[in-house]
């Protein structure tokens, strides 16, 4: 099975993990980096602050999620949550797991604008309310030639966009990550030695955005998304390089013109708007033919990269008339 989509099932309340067990599991999983020290204290403080949003999210993630059966081994949670490119929190891959806890994700609003009949500023609760969560096990292929297999929890992006009633002029969707330097330390140090600007911008063509494989994720591994993985709301587009799957979304704008995207602005000859995973089109500085699969084994195996990251059957028709060497 190369595609795993698990719909929520009716679960008797007796089977739902007791909270104490859940918390001890969280404590176990949070052993990486600086998280450990303050974890117990943080848990009790969180209980005081009564983080309603994460309670809602927790209660809505079906208990059966988080232990999926997939043909390729799932990347361990400890690695998927400690090896992140999220430059808002620092330039090293270990920085997000160290510093993302400084981010407040509740309350959270998403501003919807542009070519839609129902623009507005929505609370995350409003955004999520009508959607059932599904578990999707996807490969994540980074443009840096490593990859993971991650069980996401979310819902189709298209279902959300439809609710805002896009007009006939809506040809593209633009996403913006939160800009809050007080809580995102990486945003404080952008300068002459770094080459990307904030806020982070990403975009999709409308047919890509409406494709059922494109999801908005709120969780992974059966639990609420860790901040370093893009909480509380992130995009997951499994057939594109990871940088397209924007994290910490606060703005969704539908437009008639192709939006600017952060990496394309930073180095247009290296990162295109489409950024479809393609083993035949190399990055100017390195090969994209193979990838190192991040796994529990000591030396990550090098495996062949698949066209559209293995989702060609589902998405290749979107690009039938395009020259993928020019539209990289």
């Amino acid at each position: 099975m190369t595609l795993l989509i698990r719909q929520p099932s009716k679960i008797p309340s007796s089977e739902i993990t007791p909270e104490s067990a859940y918390k001890s599991r969280r404590a176990f999983m949070g052993t990486t980096g600086a998280l450990t020290a303050g974890l117990l204290g943080a848990l009790s403080m969180q209980a005081h602050a009564a983080s309603e949003l994460s309670e809602i999210l927790r209660s809505r993630i079906p208990a059966g999620f988080g232990a999926p059966d997939f043909a390729e081994p799932i990347t361990p949670f400890e690695l998927a949550s400690s090896y992140n490119n999220y430059y808002e929190f620092g330039l090293n891959k270990s920085d997000p797991s160290k510093y993302a806890h400084q981010l407040t994700t509740d309350p959270w609003r998403v501003e919807v604008s542009g070519e839609v009949a129902k623009p507005g500023s929505y609370t995350l609760e409003d955004i999520l309310a009508p959607h059932d969560f599904e578990e999707r096990v996807y490969r994540l292929r980074c443009v840096e030639a490593w990859s993971m297999v991650i069980p996401w929890i979310g819902f189709p992006l298209g279902d959300l966009l439809t609710r805002f009633e896009p007009t006939s002029n809506a040809k593209y969707v633009e996403f913006t990550t939160l800009f809050r330097p007080e809580e995102m330390r990486g945003q404080r140090v952008s300068g002459f030695l770094t080459s990307i600007d904030f806020p982070y911008l990403e975009g999709l063509r409308i047919d890509e955005a409406m494709h059922p494989l494109a999801i908005l994720a709120v969780g992974m591994y059966g639990q609420v998304l860790p901040n370093q993985n893009g909480a509380p709301l992130r995009l997951v587009v499994p057939w594109k390089y990871g940088f397209k799957s924007i994290k910490g979304i606060v703005k969704i704008r539908l437009t008639s013109r192709r939006p600017d995207t952060t990496w394309n602005l930073s180095a247009p000859q290296e990162y295109g708007f489409y950024a479809n995973v393609n083993p035949k089109v190399d990055h100017p500085r390195w090969s994209q033919a193979r990838e190192r699969r991040i796994s529990a084994s000591f030396f990550n195996k090098k495996i062949d990269t698949l066209m559209f990251n293995g989702y060609a059957e589902e998405v290749a028709h979107l690009y039938q008339v395009m020259n993928l060497r020019q539209n990289y």
Binding site: E78, Y83, L91, R285, F299, N300
Partner: protein, 206 residues
């Protein structure tokens, strides 16, 4: 016998980063996912390269400090430091081939013909090979004046190393900037000494 102790200390100091890396490799290999992170192979290659260029800079700094501080005795540590720099870079090179390129010769060949940052790094390493080979006292005697000339290859090697770092950067040029500034500082000192020599040579004629 007096000078043996400081030399031994330098020797152990040079081994220290390697020992730490080895310890982390052991931890990672026995299942500690936090030891070298999610991509241990990449971490090993990166770490070896980092210490390689650091030791190369330290090696060049020893000559500068010996000159500027009028402490010619320091030169006696230079060969060992240089050889350790070479050792780390050789391991960096081997680890890249064995781990990152998956010991796939076709891929290594493609890298060396197509990837500018690998061409720069690979050439830097190749330039250092004859220097390591001729590091013995016997070779020094045999080559006489040519030995010093040959060992000036360390300057292009260092600059290529900095270019290698700059070309593989994705967002941050901080590393390239730091190593590049130090390299320019050390090369600048040599240019300064050369100009001084030219002047003092020119003076009697004037």
């Amino acid at each position: 016998m007096k000078i043996v102790w400081p030399k031994l200390l330098v020797f152990l100091a040079c081994l220290f980063p390697f020992a730490i890396l080895l310890w982390e490799v052991v931890r990672a290999a026995t299942g500690d996912l936090s030891a070298l992170g999610a991509d241990p192979g990449e971490a090993i290659v990166h770490r070896l390269g980092q210490w390689g260029i650091r030791l190369l800079l330290i090696t060049l700094a020893v000559s500068s400090v010996a000159r500027l501080a009028r402490r010619p005795g320091l030169i006696r540590y230079r060969r060992m430091l240089g050889l350790f720099a070479f050792l780390y870079l050789a391991l960096h090179f081997v680890a890249y081939i064995g781990i990152l390129a998956g010991a796939d010769l076709a891929e290594v060949l493609a890298d060396f013909t197509k990837r500018p940052y690998i061409i720069a790094g690979g050439s830097a390493f190749l330039l250092l090979v004859p220097l390591a080979v001729t590091s013995t006292r016997a070779a020094q005697k045999r080559l006489r004046r040519n030995w010093a000339r040959l060992h000036r290859l360390v300057y292009p090697a260092l600059l290529l190393g900095v270019v290698h770092i700059a070309w593989l950067a994705k967002v941050s040029y901080v590393d390239a900037f730091i190593y590049g500034s130090l390299a320019l500082l050390l090369l600048g000192e040599r240019v300064y000494q050369w100009i001084k020599r030219q002047r003092s040579r020119a003076r009697p004629a004037a």
